[in-house]
Amino acid sequence: MSNSTTTVNAGSFRDRDGRVYHYQGRVFRGLSKSALETFRQLQEKPFYTKLIETGKVIGTREVTDEDNPLPEDVKEQWTGFLEHDVVPVISYPYEWTFSMLKAAAGLQLHLVERAVSNGFTLKDASPYNIQFVNRKPVFIDVPSFEPLPQGEPWAGYRQFCEMFLFPLFMQVYKKSNFQPFMRASIDGVDVQTAASLFGFRDRFRKGVMSHVWLQSKLDRRFGGSSENVRSNLKSAGFNRELILVNVRKLQKLVNKLEWQAVGSEWGDYEEFHNYSEDDHVLKENFIRDAISSEKPGVVWDIGCNTGQFSRIAAAGCRQVLSTDIDHVAVERMYLNTETPDNILPLVQNVADPSPSWGWRNRERSDLQSRSQPDLVLCLALIHHVVISANIPLEEFVDWLAGLTDKLVIEYVSRKDDKVKTLLRNKEDKYRDYSRESLESNLKRHFEIRVQQEVNAGDRSLYLCVKY
């Protein structure tokens, strides 16, 4: 399929007219004859140039045969090649927060509106075609643009509903986190499922009557019809103005969807953390010193909460990937204007992380395949992993050692209020949860370079580096 330095992107198979290849950190896309012609046409259009200039579409250029470093067997398969700018960390909609999905939906609609107004369209509407670069959504699937044939409806409308609109509805109207649904089905929340989730009362909420209820009814009624609806629509005079009316209404609808990210256990951490001011400064300084001495390129902050320590790390490294189980906390981090651009905040449960799945279990990959940390921050997390998620401390440390060469980890003793709360209704079988156990497990993999006691010894910070 390819030689050792070229890998085929396992998620790019759906479009028969192209394929994505990774080569030495660069991203190329092979195109068929027709897709290449379409790209050349598109490139001439001022609307497309503007989308590129404003960063809404990923920087893309055609590569000549001489400048194409891909092996001959790959080159032979396609008429031409594009090179795309590299996205620092690939992320998926089930890792995004509400506002990230909403921003991605806004971008998708903007692209359709611009394209259709200029005689083009987008052949699909998948959030997997959108990535976050510097905390802004960027469209990466350039060959999705194609000329809009006369009389054609918007091909991506249904997919837009299933992969953007219905998940957003679920968060706003049902107060139910959308991420588990997006991770359960690679095609999102299908129309019939949405119709069963939104009851009679929900039909009167904005957008539900037409996009959910009516769509499901029409679907059931006409799904088996032998009519050639496409050609009927065309001969009845369906035109792009109808698409634009629908898209502009959808833009207004999506804009008005608001989710109040409040009331979680951790979202208010910064206001109610367990530290005195002095101890807090000690902890911040410890992290600042660790970052400046170890000089990591990529830092993972696992259990980042609203990201106050991610921000310290971000000042001293290229990229921070901040993850937390709490949707509210991550949402607040994403919306916080003080969050630096080189932080990507994602919703992620360390005990139930993003899997490799989809076609051949390779279409979407786990987080470790998409980003490799040089240093991991694991602050005030270990009690949740060991006590709440029941993961043996030894296994957790082994996992961390497989993930990173450098680690900043915080131990929270049993005297700490948070630990007492976690244990209050549980039989305490956590004999492995002790300072001695953590230190001996760390020492199997790491040298403990620096150690700092905080909160009068209730908590300890360790900077560990692999032997």
């Binding site: 409308y157 037409s210 029409l218 799904g223 496409r230 369906f238």
Partner: protein, 67 residues
């Protein structure tokens, strides 16, 4: 307005068989969502159907598929 177009559309086509083609309903919905601009399209769809029913129109035009 939407209700009017929806009723018109519901009158046009026969009921569904077991196999569901996921696109058809969503395509028709786009006529309803097209608002005022779509009334003409909906009426034409209805008219076309009537003509077919009375044997006056051609049932399908395969040429139209290849756009």
């Amino acid at each position: 307005m939407r209700i009017f177009i929806a009723i018109l559309l519901l009158l046009i086509f026969s009921d569904a068989a077991a196999y569901l083609d996921p696109g058809t309903g969503s395509m028709l919905l786009q006529v309803i969502l097209g608002g005022v601009a779509a009334v003409g399209v909906a009426i034409k769809l209805y008219w076309h159907k009537l003509r077919v029913a009375f044997g006056m129109g051609k049932k399908e035009d395969p040429e139209d598929e290849s756009v």
